[in-house]
């Protein structure tokens, strides 16, 4: 019995030494990076998690993934960020749900010596963040305007009623896309009139309800811009329920697998897709480079272009841009 125990102890010591040696061979201490996103139930963040997990494994980083299960809300995010900061990670990737509301928490993290990166949305002052990576929301909004104009056969001199479904009035992605959409409409399609906007608060039921009411209020409605995946799901359900598929142009955002299926079914005129996994990869790379080599990224603000997916997009591209979960 004693001999067995001794053998086990020797084996354990050898194994521990081997593990230490392999760590030394890599020559780098494992870093801990916390990733606080908006709402776990949003497929956009699930796709982001795939990229973050891959990159963390490649860079010998322990990833701490956190966020509210379903509410994209500043009130629920602040306590999560603050408790994450108290665990003293080496880096923090933050997707602030509100630019002003998360500023204090972000500053607190920087003061504690944590390297902060902003992804997708940003705090009011991004100067202390090592990098800010986002999809080009303005460009995405402009592409949505082009897609709607194309689908309704826009001609100068005619007027067309269009509505926009948003999640909240303050999310910077929503604001950026709406601004891009409005700017493109003003510049190229003056006959398009944005007659109303409404908020879904991240619930597809509310988005469907808003669109159902619009279909009654505006019998001559020509187009809907659903500004994110949740709004896109709700709007698609409402149009299908009212048998208006193909009669009203629907341009959505975010390539949820379910919504990509609906491009093929003709429900979506187009979907504007981002590359959330790539955003996460670049954020982790920038934090690791800053901590290990004190290297700043080549550019502080990185904009990853969006793409328009529609019936003419190749199957390969549809697969490439469709959001996947772990």
């Amino acid at each position: 019995m004693k001999r067995t125990l001794r053998s086990l102890a020797v084996l354990g010591t050898v194994a521990a030494l081997a593990l230490t040696a392999s760590g030394c061979a890599q020559g780098e201490k494992q870093l801990t990076i916390a990733f606080v996103m908006g709402a776990e139930s949003d497929p956009f963040f699930q796709a982001m998690k795939v990229g973050a997990t891959e990159e963390a494994a490649a860079q010998n980083v322990k990833l701490v993934w956190q966020g509210d299960p379903s509410h994209y809300d500043v009130a629920t995010q602040v306590p999560i960020v603050d408790s994450v900061i108290s665990t003293k990670p080496d880096g923090l990737v933050l997707i602030p749900t509100d630019p002003a509301g998360l500023q204090a928490s972000s500053d607190k993290a920087v003061e504690a010596g944590i390297v902060v990166a902003n992804v997708d949305t940003h705090t009011e002052d991004t100067s202390k963040a090592v990098i800010f990576i986002t999809g080009d929301n303005g460009d995405g909004g402009a592409k949505a305007a082009d897609a709607i104009a194309n689908a309704i056969g826009y001609t100068d001199g005619e007027t067309y009623q269009v509505v926009v479904g948003l999640t909240s009035a303050t999310a910077t992605t929503n604001v950026g896309r709406l601004d891009g959409f409005k700017a493109q409409v003003a510049a190229s399609y003056p006959g398009i009139e944005i007659v109303d906007v409404a908020y879904s608060q991240s619930n597809p039921q509310t988005a469907a309800s808003n669109v159902s009411n619009w279909l009654t209020k505006f019998p001559n409605l020509k187009g809907i811009f659903a500004i994110d995946g949740t709004n896109a799901s709700g709007a698609a359900a409402a149009l299908q329920a009212k048998n208006l598929v193909g009669k009203i142009a629907l341009v959505g955002y975010d390539a949820y697998p379910a919504n990509v299926e609906l491009i093929k079914a003709g429900v979506f005129t187009a979907l504007i897709a981002q590359d959330p996994a790539e955003e996460a990869r670049q954020a982790i790379r920038a934090i690791v480079a800053k901590i290990r080599n004190n290297e700043d990224p080549a550019s502080h603000d990185v904009v990853i272009p969006n793409v328009t997916l529609d019936a003419n997009t190749s199957a390969a591209d549809l697969t490439k841009y469709t959001y996947v979960a772990n």
Partner: protein, 346 residues
């Protein structure tokens, strides 16, 4: 002597308006009609349309299922915060069963989808019942107060919905016609859809159970004084188990309703609905202290919530006003409760 007694006690001495005017349901009907008038005027008549009422009733159908279950729980002296996440969870489980296990996709639609949807309905009810049993176990056996017990299942349910769906809506078979107005030939004269009709039947049965059956009597008795109820021979724990199971089962049906409406089981479809359900119950005049309340009030309270939501959009007001108006309605409802209680005591 006899005559004078009759005159002073039994004979009608004019219409007594106070009980009627302070009755929550009467006031709610008046407020619903008043708001309908305001929204109609504000929208130049377009609010007064069959399709608008179809929209309101479609929203109502989801929340009233939760609110009816919540009414039983609140009258029994508890609260059920898990109803919103049970909507998400049961919708997701329905999606997993149809999409991942039965390998059906969105091309199975209309009449062909009825079979799978019925199976999904049973799955949703079973999921809701399981959540209800867990709530009852935490409250009755572990002895956790209902607020905390159901807060735990709210978080657990929301988490499981995300894990099992991978955070993505699961899109499967559907029959959107179920949520559209029932048509007579080519014309839809009424705003009622098949789904809303089914909900109305469920709600009526639940209302009768509360008002007329022993089940309701026991619920009021436990909510008023659980010690007295126990002393009177009511098996309080067994009854409370049934109350949470009913709330869970109705939330499961609501999960199927949400699936039918969206054509997918979405992990965010129930987000925040627990507070809407509680708001409907409180606006309907049920006291959060337990022991009093009426199903009709809840049904009208739920309608009012969505009348305001649709009305604001039809009028073109900032949708954020909904929260302000709902807050005023909750304060008003509780104020009226206090006033009616004072009247009764007099």
């Amino acid at each position: 002597m006899t005559d004078s007694k009759l005159t002073s006690q039994g004979a009608p001495s004019g219409f007594n308006w106070k009980p009627l005017a302070t009755n929550q349901s009467t006031i709610l009907v008046a407020v619903i009609l008043l708001l309908a008038g305001v929204f109609s005027a504000g929208s130049y008549g377009s609010f007064w349309d069959v399709s608008v009422f179809n929209n309101i009733l479609t929203d109502w159908g989801l929340i009233v299922l939760l609110a009816v279950g919540q009414t039983f729980v609140v009258i029994s002296g508890g609260i059920d915060l898990s109803v919103g996440s049970t909507v998400s969870l049961s919708g997701v489980v329905a999606g997993v069963v149809m999409v991942n296990w039965m390998h059906l996709d969105l091309n199975v639609k209309n009449e062909a989808a009825i079979g799978p949807l019925l199976i999904a309905l049973l799955v949703c009810i079973a999921t809701g019942v399981a959540v209800g049993l867990l709530n009852a176990f935490l409250v009755n056996v572990v002895g956790i107060v209902p607020f905390i017990a159901t807060l735990a299942t709210l978080g657990g349910g929301a988490g499981l919905a995300i894990i099992w769906s991978g955070g993505m809506p699961l899109q499967g078979p559907n029959f959107y016609g179920l949520v559209n107005p029932i048509k007579f030939g080519e014309v839809s004269l009424s705003p009622i859809s098949f789904a809303v009709l089914v909900v109305a039947i469920i709600v009526t049965i639940a209302g009768l159970f509360l008002a007329k059956a022993r089940f309701g009597l026991y619920t009021y008795a436990i909510g008023s004084n659980s010690f007295a109820a126990k002393a009177a021979g009511i098996n309080v724990k067994r009854h409370l188990t049934w109350v949470y199971v009913v709330s869970g089962a109705l939330s499961g049906i609501a999960g199927m309703y949400a699936y039918t409406r969206l054509g997918s089981g979405s992990p965010s479809s129930g987000a925040g609905l627990e507070l809407q359900a509680i708001a409907a119950v409180v606006i309907g005049g049920t006291s959060l202290m337990g022991g009093s309340g009426k199903m009709l009030g809840t049904i009208l309270g739920a309608f009012l919530l969505y009348e305001v939501q649709s009305g604001l959009l039809m009028v073109g007001m900032d949708p954020n006003w909904k929260q302000v108006i709902v807050a005023i309605m909750i304060a008003g409802a509780v104020g009226i409760q206090g006033f009616s209680f004072g009247q009764r005591r007099k």
